[in-house]
């Protein structure tokens, strides 16, 4: 692709999203029409984004697209710059955006048929701003564009979160989201301003040049400040509290975008800062960076899935799984940071680690998007979020059920789907890292591997619960009983993502070419396909020995073919004898009439693990019995809940501290304007005393 084509592609993206924003004006006449047209333009923008990203990714090594923007500010030159890394994240955004834009109109029409035209217009504007801002955060060529789009992304997603209002709960979720997101943005602002002040400009190129000469301490401090900002947006534990509240509150296709894509924009920021802007000119990264990211990743992975396991609100459960998967991505990122530019085969291993992280990024976007869309179909058909009140939907919504099951297998990292591939690569790097680092460091890496294995097992348990209780058995409420299949356009949206899941699972080697540009560009080493698919696109291999003597090679394609062949064999084996009887009978319930109350509930399903990990959950339960006679229970009420440790241990304490502080301030505030002017004057004097007497 030539520079010109790509540049016009970027313009096309901007035009599409702008047209999408303008199409909200149609809501004057018909809200439904505005929704349709707005989503259509979003779809066009996403397709254009896909084109640009593929053009850059396949445009040869080192292809970078630079595009100056109109000068809005006298002090900063705005520009776009799309290199391999940007293009890759643009690809991730576009894939999910396409599915969400196909899915959206029918979902909104079915979920909120009586929504006001104003609300629909707001949703159209916010969706297009949201998508456009995510694209341009990744395509930003300077700090100003980055921060502006970052803020646009936050504000528009806030509008989407509160747009689907339910009894004020969304407003509270939105407020928490705003507070957390702006805390994160403040940290980013500090990191960026510290660099731009030294560089005297906002261009990434200038920042890079000035960062090369930073001393080690400043560099590390800046990295951790930026990491804090990005980790807040990515929902890394313990900065995740907003995520399981805000994501499910938005309309489901927006949840898919927020969980599947917006978190990845934060990962993009981390990679951009860690490997590009703040990286020293030569030599390895400070070891504290990689280890911190690795520890954060491992913690998020395990705790994310553990909390998800005990939740029975389907979208919230999925949101906690996003925390888990961000953790898995961060394990790969952390390993890449630890291994980058170390001697021996470290460089090759770093490439594998980054490949694993980037592959898991697109994988998670695909299956989490699919699962959120599936949950959205259930929600729009039943208007029930609690899986305890569902059941039996597989008979009523077979397509949704099948696609949800596919997503569940993928997210549980089970072969032959895509989740397994990226986790396999992560395991290979963990093993390779453990072999390189003897001593406690190696043991730490191995421990992280064990935790990753635990995460996979727990995810499978969680999705056996989520799928089984939602879709199988008998319907427990009339809502579930009268559900019908989702409309075709919603199914098509889901099928798009399911195809990505299967394709990246069965033939991941072909996707490696797309990972060449980001890995080689960021690490200045060999590309992904040279390392991972050295033996052809059908074979994945990861060289682990420092000398690269022995390598594990697997072929997802051959295994998938073997699985299909064996399934065909088993099908033949299972085919009933024609003369044999085949009949249906009620499920065995010890002789009683089967009712939905015999079905195992999600709470019961997760109970053994709740007790095994009781130290973490601190479960509380309350059982109230109404007795008619000493031994005859007339009615029994059970309530149980678990606590999020970071909420009780960190946030509640901070909250208490702030409350006390504000109470103390309230006591001092007299309500007279002279008093406040006095405070202001005092603050000014103190500030001048502290900073006004500089060397200048």
């Amino acid at each position: 692709m030539s520079d010109l084509d790509a540049a016009s592609g970027l313009k096309l993206i901007a035009v599409c999203y702008a047209a999408g924003i303008l199409s909200s004006l149609l809501a004057r006449w018909s809200g439904r029409l505005a929704l349709r047209v707005g989503h259509l333009f979003a779809l066009a923008g996403a397709v254009a984004g896909l084109g640009v990203s593929l053009g850059v990714l396949l445009g040869g090594p080192g292809f970078t697209l630079n595009q100056p923007l109109p000068a809005l500010f006298p002090f900063a030159r705005l520009s776009l710059s799309v290199d391999g890394l940007s293009a890759y994240f643009l690809l991730v955004i576009s894939v999910v955006a396409i599915a969400a834009a196909i899915y959206g109109p029918a979902y909104l029409a079915a979920h909120a048929p009586d929504a006001s035209a104003a609300r629909q217009a707001a949703q159209v504007v916010a969706l297009n701003v949201f998508l456009g801002c995510m694209v341009f955060v990744c395509a930003a060529g300077d700090a100003m564009t980055f921060l502006l789009c970052w803020e646009g992304m936050t504000l528009s997603s806030y509008v989407l979160v509160v747009s689907d209002d339910r009894d004020g709960e969304n407003a509270r979720a939105g407020l928490l989201y705003m507070v957390m997101a702006h805390g994160g943005t403040a940290l980013l602002l500090v990191a960026f301003l510290a660099l731009t002040e030294r560089a005297g400009g906002f261009d990434f190129a200038a920042l890079r040049a000035v960062a090369a000469n930073l001393d080690g301490t400043t560099r590390t401090v800046l990295f951790f400040v930026a990491l804090g900002g990005f980790a807040t947006k990515a929902g890394v534990i313990p900065l995740h509290v907003w995520l399981p509240r805000a994501h499910p509150a938005a309309p489901s296709h927006v949840s898919a975008l927020m969980s599947g894509v917006m978190l990845k924009v934060a990962i993009y920021g981390m990679l951009r800062f860690g490997f590009d802007l703040l990286a020293p000119a030569t030599g390895a990264l400070p070891s504290s960076w990689g280890w911190t990211v690795l520890i954060l990743g491992t913690t998020s992975a395990v705790l994310g899935v553990l909390y998800a396991l005990q939740l029975h609100d389907l979208p919230r459960l999925l949101a906690f799984h996003s925390v888990e998967n961000i953790g898995i991505i961060l394990i790969g990122v952390g390993l890449a940071m630890i291994l980058w530019r170390t001697e021996g085969a470290g460089g090759v291993l770093a490439t594998v680690a980054l490949t694993a992280a980037l592959l898991h990024t697109v994988n998670h976007a695909a299956f989490k998007g699919l699962l959120f869309l599936g949950a959205g179909s259930v929600l729009s058909r039943t208007h029930v979020r609690n899986i305890e009140e569902l059941g039996g939907l597989a008979r009523r919504m077979p397509w949704t059920a099948g696609l949800f099951l596919l997503g569940a297998v993928a997210i549980s990292a089970l072969p032959p789907l895509n989740g397994f591939v990226s986790e396999w690569l992560t395991f290979q790097v963990l093993l390779g890292g453990a072999m390189r680092f003897h001593g406690p460091a190696g043991l730490g890496i191995v421990f992280s591997a064990a935790m990753l294995a635990l995460t996979g097992g727990l995810a499978a348990a969680c999705f056996a619960k989520a799928f089984g209780v939602t879709f199988l058995g008998r319907p427990r409420t009339p809502h579930a009983e009268h559900a019908t299949e989702a409309p075709t356009s919603m199914i098509v949206g889901m099928v798009c993502l399911a195809v990505v899941c299967v394709g990246l699972g069965v033939a991941p080697g072909y996707a490696m070419r797309l990972l060449d540009a980001p890995t080689a560009g960021l690490l200045h080493g060999p590309g992904a396909s040279a390392v991972v698919t050295a033996r052809g696109p059908l074979v994945l291999s990861a060289s682990m020995m420092p000398e690269g003597t022995s390598a594990t090679a697997i072929s997802m394609t051959v295994m998938a073919a073997l699985l299909v062949a064996l399934a065909a064999l088993a099908w033949v084996l299972r085919r009933e004898d024609r003369h044999a009887e085949r009949r249906a009978a009620p499920t065995w319930t010890c002789g009683m009439t089967p009712t939905p109350r015999f079905d195992y509930t999600a709470t019961a399903f997760a109970k053994p693990l709740r007790l095994v990990f009781a130290a973490l959950y601190r479960p509380r339960r309350e059982v109230v019995r109404e007795m008619t006679a000493p031994y005859a229970v007339r009615r029994i009420r059970y309530a149980g809940e678990i606590v999020d440790l970071s909420e009780t241990q960190i946030y509640h304490r901070v909250e208490r501290g702030i409350s006390e502080l504000s109470r103390a301030i309230r006591d001092r505030s007299t309500g007279r304007i002279y008093g406040y002017i006095g405070f202001l004057f005092g603050a000014l004097v103190v500030t001048l005393l502290l900073f006004g007497v500089g060397p200048g």
């Binding site: 056996a464 090679a553 249906a584 499920t587």
Partner: protein, 313 residues
Amino acid sequence: MIGERSLVLVLLELALLVLLGPLVTGTIQKLKARLQSRQGAGLLQPYRDLAKLFRKGTVQADTTSGFFRSIPVLVLAATMAAGALVPVIRAGPPAVPLGDALMLLGLLALARFLTSVGALDAGGAFGGMGASREMTIAPLVEPVLMMVVFSAAVVAGTTELGALAAHRGTSWILGWHAADFLGFAAMLVLLPAETGRIPVDNPDTHLELTMLHEGMLLEHSGPGLGCMVLASHTRQIVTLGLVSALFFPAAVAGAGAVSLLLGAGAFAVKILVLAVYLALVESSYAKLRLFRVPLYLGIGFVCALTALALRIL
């Protein structure tokens, strides 16, 4: 002795594994019966049971969804695919790359996931209870299994089972490192859990309070149940094969018919030894309470972690 295993050999090994699976169960049952001073059924009883099941009609719960009928097929296929990854007759990586130990564990996990999903489909409390318990124990077993695999893999530099076995080569128990003993000990702790036997599960019971795996099979019948039972047999021999590949790999050179037979014979002996171990454990212990099982698995975790620490430190 390190050579690549051709695809034909791999498929032959897979067939052998699947065909011998019920025999292992038969052997364990017979041994248990003898240890309990009973005559017991013949060694071939599992084959007769399978043949009977595949001829029988089907009774299916009327509330099940369309998935229910394909669950046994998929479970059996996933388990057999895992069997293709175990080196049986000869060590060495397969000529056509297939999968490694992680893939094997992943396929077994897939089979388990699908089994528990199927158990929830009929909508009875037994299936749900079995699925819940199985999915409680599995996440605790898998990390430990993976750590045992890693403790072997950090030395060989690969997680491919055939290559791992080839790397260990003929080093017999006398040549073992301390880490090998600890890893093997962890494996011995895990074996009853992974094969669904006492003290973790009891394959003979149909009492609702005690069963794990059997509870999930309650609503399957006829050929479907046959597939599930065959999958359990296969899973058992695959797990035993994993242990033998990690700790007592095949040591047969050459490609002639004699050496192939020798390899198969050696494999049978190794599996038999492990089967005797399982029968002895089943006969000498009682089933643990469900909430004692994590403590029991903790022993395996400590052993595996120490084995890894010894390798790395």
